[in-house]
Structures are given as structure tokens and as C-alpha cells.
């Protein structure tokens, strides 16, 4: 099978997994909307109301951070277990393992797009009318796709080899969430702190959503370039490890 065949497989399997997830719960795909709403609601209560005094402006500011973050987090979290969750399949037929994180990105990405659509409706609802910079949204989506795929591939490549890394990744994601500028504006920080915190590509992505949806500006293209560059490097490492251990993963049993 060549690359186009694998792309077809990634898409079909991704949709099939999504379908499976939906039929596991009685309310099916309503859950995809409800779950992030509850998640975001909890953060709003904790941080929006509790620490910052709240207000509709604060809520929308938070959501612009939480919505893209949730995609990244679920992609990396599911991606780190993807070889394990497909172990039966990869012991039965040969599949290049690097396509597995791609499947995760399809399932989590479609859920993200639904939530993003809700966020855009909300943007209009709170008075941020669609403006020209909205045209840059696909670039932001692609940037996050690239970064999440890269991080999920790297996590997916190493966790089967060193299962303890799974715990480190889960905790690392929590730390990273607090350092992604979801709850505060990175732009208001002192310069040195800002430079350090902007190493994290999620900061650029979240800032991009706020530039577009709140400030009605184009995102910082230099930062977008940075996201793609970092993603390429991380992906190359993850892909390299997956290729190297391609025929070793099916021999590893965890538990």
C-alpha cells in the first residue's frame, strides 16, 4: 500500500473509531459537545469566576484558549497509547505504525471542529462579528494539526518502549496547560518571561485565536512559521523512532 492508500485508511479508520466512540454512550455524539462544555464550564467556574472576577469577556478569552488546548491534549494523550490500543490489529497485519497517530488526529480533530464551530457561533453571540482575519482560521487549524500530530507521534513512539513515560506525559500536559496562556494573557507578561513561555507552540496558536476572534487582527505569521518549524522537527524525531521500532512494537506487551 502506498501513501494515498494509507491516507484513505487513516480517514476511514478515524471515522470508524469516532463512530465507535459515539455508539458507546446512549447519547452518542451529543457527548462530544457536552463533555468539552462541562470541562470548559469547570475551568470557567474555577478561574473565570473565582480568580478573575469573571465577566463575559473573560469567559470568551478563556474559551479561545481552552478549545484549541483540549484538541492538543486529547490528541497527545490518546496518541501516546495508540500502539497499545491497536495491538491486536498490528499483530495480525503489518501496518506502518506512523499512521496510527494520524488516525487519532482524525478522531480528535473532527470533535475539535464541532467545538470550534460552537466557539465561532459564541463569538458572534458576544459581539465579535466575522471579519477578514477569520480567513486565517484554516491556517491556525493546520498549524495545530501539525503540532498535535508531531507531539502525538513522538509520545506514541516512546511510550510503548518506556511505559513510565506515559505518566510523565500526562503530568507534563497539565503543566503545559498552565504555561500555554489559557488563563492569562502572555502579551501582558514581562519580556523575558514572555520569550521563555513562547517556546511552547501552543502559546502561538492560542494567541492566534485571540488575535482573530477577540482583537479582529491577523495572527502573527512569524509565530505560525515557528509552529510549523517546531512541528517538523518533533515529527521527524517521532517518525524516525516509529520507523526504527516498526517491527518491534508488536513484540512488546504492556502490563
Amino acid at each position: 500500500m502506498r501513501l494515498p492508500g494509507y491516507l484513505g485508511l487513516i480517514l476511514y479508520k478515524g471515522l470508524a473509531d469516532l463512530n465507535t466512540e459515539a455508539s458507546r454512550a446512549y447519547i452518542g455524539f451529543v457527548w462530544w459537545v457536552l463533555e468539552p462544555l462541562l470541562y470548559m464550564g469547570a475551568f470557567y467556574v474555577a478561574f473565570g469566576l473565582g480568580l478573575r472576577g469573571g465577566g463575559p469577556g473573560m469567559l470568551f478569552f478563556l474559551l479561545c484558549g481552552l478549545v484549541p488546548w483540549k484538541w492538543f491534549q486529547s490528541a497527545v494523550s490518546n496518541g501516546s497509547h495508540t500502539i497499545q490500543s491497536n495491538i491486536g490489529l498490528i499483530q495480525q497485519i503489518y501496518l506502518p505504525k506512523y499512521i496510527l497517530p494520524g488516525i487519532v488526529l482524525v478522531t480528535t480533530g473532527i470533535k475539535f471542529l464541532i467545538i470550534l464551530a460552537l466557539l465561532l457561533v459564541l463569538a458572534i453571540g458576544v459581539g465579535h462579528e466575522p471579519a477578514l482575519p477569520w480567513l486565517a482560521l484554516p491556517v491556525l487549524i493546520l498549524a495545530e494539526l501539525a503540532f498535535a500530530l508531531a507531539a502525538a507521534s513522538l509520545a506514541g513512539a516512546v511510550v510503548p518502549l518506556i511505559p513510565d513515560l506515559g505518566l510523565i506525559i500526562d503530568n507534563g500536559l497539565i503543566v503545559m496547560m498552565f504555561l500555554s496562556g489559557i488563563f492569562f494573557s502572555v502579551k501582558k507578561m514581562p519580556h523575558t518571561a514572555q520569550v521563555l513561555i513562547e517556546i511552547n507552540p501552543m502559546v502561538a496558536i492560542i494567541n492566534g485565536y485571540r488575535d482573530i476572534l477577540i482583537d479582529h487582527q491577523w495572527p502573527d505569521w512569524g509565530n505560525m512559521g515557528y509552529v510549523f518549524a517546531v512541528s517538523t522537527v518533533i515529527y521527524a524525531v517521532g517518525y524516525g523512532i516509529m520507523r526504527h521500532f516498526d517491527r518491534v512494537y508488536p513484540k512488546v506487551m504492556i502490563g
Binding site: 479508520k13 490489529l89 499483530q91 497485519i93 518491534v248 512488546v252 504492556i254 502490563g255
Partner: protein, 236 residues
Amino acid sequence: MSGSKVIELRNVGVCYTRKSGMLRSSKFWALHDVSFDLYHGETLGVIGRNGAGKSTLLRLLAGIIAPDTGEVIHRVERVSLLALQAGFIQHLTGRQNAILSGILLGLTRRQVEERMDAMIRFAELEDFIDEPLRTYSSGMRARLGFTVAFQADPDVLLVDEVLGTGDASFKEKSAAAMREKIASDKTVVIVTHQPETVLDLCHRMAWVHQGVTVEVGEPKTVLAHYSESLRQARRA
């Protein structure tokens, strides 16, 4: 036998790793020292008792796993297991599962769709193909699984244990289809612990015991030695 080697195994060993807890892992050698060649167009039977390493051997031949010692040389590209019900998902319909499984087995979506009608007829699932798989009986699932897996047409076909599956009448029909495929010019490896059932199909047999090849050769001779060893084991 047409002569040219398609796969060569040289003193192959395979080790599984079980990872548990903080940096703890244990190793288990499923194969120690297996050697044989597979020739184009032949049917090779691999026999051995349960736990002899037959499934591991098939994974190795299929290129799913790499050997830890020794060497496997593939001279053809597409070597695959008759992968029954590969990737089946309970919540998808029979038709969707056929497409998914077909794509996983290396067919294009169009190829699967072109063959769909014939597959539905062969699997006798005309009235159920658009129902979710979870509503299927195990016999129906086996019929669909065999029919889809049978569509894959690798250079070397690997078969685990049984030729036919499903309820009695389908078992006969699927075994007949398999026999026809094996009897053609196809290169086939059948792994089984019931060698009598495939004796007439095999050009050669390899006997594997506890991860080591004991004997490779003429089927009746190898089978006689294997049966003798079973009798001795029973007596001991």
C-alpha cells in the same frame, strides 16, 4: 515447486518483552532457532504442538515482527496472513466493516466496493449486510471475516490452523475455496497442529518444537516422525 526462493529463514530467534511497572521488563523467547526456505509456488505445512511458536513464526514471515537473532530474507513484497475479521468494529455495519477490513488488508476502497455484491453473496449475508456487526451471530461474523480476508491476494499467503470457518455448510464452502487457491500457483504456508487435514495440500512440511526446527522435508516422512514423537510424549 518452481524453484526460486521467496523467503529464507536463517537461525531465527524471536523474543517478546513484557513491560510492567517502573522500568521493569521480562523477556520470553518464542523462537530459538528456526531455519527453512520457502520456494515460489509451493505449499509448506508447518506443524508443531501448541506453544511451539507457530503463530510467532507466521508473524515473522508476514513481516509483522523482526527477528532478534538470525536473519529473515524476503524476496517478495506482499506476504500476509489470512487475517480473519481484521479490524472489525462491532458498531459498524457489515458493509462498513468489509470496507475497513479490506482497506487494512491492502485493497483500495474501490476494489472492495466493486467486489461487494459477490462478497455478500458468498458470505450469504444479503439481508444483514447493512446491519451493525454486533447483531451478527458468530457464524455470520465468521462468514464475513473469511470472505473479506479471502479477497486479499498476497504473493505469499499465510494460513493459521484452519482452512474453513463458520457453520458446517460454510466451512465446507470456504475450505473448498481455500483448497482451490492453494492448489493454484500460489505460495502458501499453512500452520497447524492437525497436520492430517492438510497433508494432501503440502509439498513439504516443517516441524517446529519449542521454537526450534526439528525437521524439514517430505510431508509423509516429517509427519511420521512428528506422530512418533507425540506417541512417545504421551507414553512418558
